[in-house]
Amino acid sequence: MTTLATTPASRRRRAASFLYRRPRLQLALLLGAPLFWLVVAYLGSLAVLLVSAFWTYSAATDTINTKPSLDNFVEIIQSATYRTITLRTVGMAVLVTLTTAVLAFPIAYYMARVASRRVRNMLVVAVLLPLWASYVVKVYAWRIILSDQGILNWALRPFGIQGPGYGDVALWIVFTYLWLPYMILPIFAGLERIPQSVIEASGDLGGRSAQTFRRVILPLAFPAVVAGSIFTFSLTLGDYIAPSLITSTQFLGNVIAGKLGPAGDVQFAAALGTIPVVVMLVYLAAARRLGAFEAL
């Protein structure tokens, strides 16, 4: 039953059938905008940055030399300082990821599988709420807690022990604190997705609860843990604000920011920036293999 009238409804139908017969066009229309944004705008700007990493800047003469050269990279590789800083940063990222995973798992498990519906909703809100307190303010709050005459030392004084004070240990604590919600939420979602029937089946097959946990729940939740770790790892790798306030040692983010701000050396900063990018790309590839992308 075709009609020659051109009402809006019939125009829409004609457009819909036109598209239906051309799936490629339909797909292109769907993907066009996101791809343009991500590939041209985002990847494009990363490319611009990468190009400038091959240029060199001299602060003394305030000039940029656009003859492509590997000078920046050579300097980074040869310098023991940058090696130390990179190792320190990656090491911190690994430590922080481990600690957040260990702390997040119990609470996520409780929320997902043990708590009543009401308690679960309250806990989700409780975990989400601190995300709205500004990150900078939270770091400054930790400065008050960790300072020599601060809250932690005051609480520990009756026991005769001293807190860590400012330094890398303190930074580890602060990072763990800051990124904890980013680990709790994916693990919670992952644990929630495990069907109860699977757990019951495990029990039916003779597994005690410890075995069920180790052999059924953990492996099923692991992709979610890896998914959360993407955030904790990446956030630690690039952060410069918390390190500048909590410790005096330098991390990758500090040196990159230092080259940008005070030194005005965007080119060297770009070259330094390739380090965390490469590390994250490797990490992402590993995470994808472990199934983390489905668990986000």
Partner: protein, 452 residues
Amino acid sequence: MIRGINSKRGWALLSAVVLVAGGCGASSTPAPGTPSPSLPAAATPSPAPGTPQAAATQAPTIAATPVPTEGSTVPPSSEPSPTEVASSGPQASGMPTQLGPGEGAVKILAWPGYVEDGSTDPTVDWVTKFQEDTGCTVTFDVFGTSDEAFNLFKAGDYDLISASGDASGRLVDGGYVAPVNVDLVPNYADVVGALKDQPYNTFGGVHYGIPHGRGANLLMWRTDVVTTPPPHWSAVFDPASPYAGKVTGYDAPIYIADAAVVLMQTKPDLGITNPYELDANQFAAAVDLAKQQRPLISEYWSDYTKEISSFENQDSVIGTTWQIITNLLKAEKPPVPVKAIKPEEGSTGWSDTWMLSSKSAHPNCAYMYMNYEVSPPVQAAVAEWFGEAPANLKACDLTTDPNHCKIFHAQEDGYWNNVYYWRTPTVDCGDGRGSVCTGFDDWLNAWTDIKG
């Protein structure tokens, strides 16, 4: 609604188009955030500060000339530039000979404490009166180090900057600031002679700014923790210091000069006469000393609120400071017991100059502000708030503490003989040794190594 689309050719084509489109944007155009164009191949190093570069060789762009309103014949301050253009920011072609009416606004980049409008402390405010008198609304930003200042000024649209000697040379070399006609700043006449025509504010005989004031970096300690007053800077560089882990230092490469000052006293055979002119040997020694100090450091500071909270909470008990920080600590409730001195061997310090942007959009308001800030009542207020020696000695009669100028040695030239004002280290030593000194790039790199 599952569709199978497996045309690899189609996708390859699409991705190729997209990547080419992105790649075109990334073609070798000059790097972002820099004045273009950049030099081809080898960049020639710029000559030592003192030679205005490119000041007059560029044709002025329209936005660049500070536009005086009427009747100004503007002879360009023509110094033939002997070297290539280092970087061509828009240049002023010359100085106005007459001030027009204010443009209604002025944007300032200043050391924290130099521009106060009551928001830090309601009783400390000299900006409001300026706004009322001239109709120029003041917006300002602050910075922690000269390096930050240099890069912020380059990238922003400020009219004025309070530049220490380790920024002023670079600003002039880069063409970011314009010569200043001191005849349009009546209060300049009253500036103390020791601050006029100095290498950090006058280049090739041309004035590039109005002196603001000067001060020394001081050694501060908590009197309740550090019971024996330290007489020398070596106290904060001593590996056996009882305050290890609670020492603080200034967070900028120029701090290496403070190590050099210590060496001037402890290792005279190194032959250091000026802590910014260090040949390879002297520089290595200074860097080693700074690295030796590193384990003693609790944290470095560049914004003074960090040092205030550090001393208040006893995370630091001794280290480099500015007088304003000491004053604020003593004004806390309850006051923090601190004392600050300039050790007898001398100290690094700063002598600051108000400089005008070469692309200032509000030059008249800028000139008015410079004149205002160098006027006796404002000089008195700033000098007391920040804790420095004012440039305009007429302020000495107006300070709340009648002894202020005496305490800060504003008229005592001898005091300043061993205060080494910040300046940008250059390869050219500036003395008989020639071009064997370490330049600022090396200082920057060394600083990253020192902080570790």
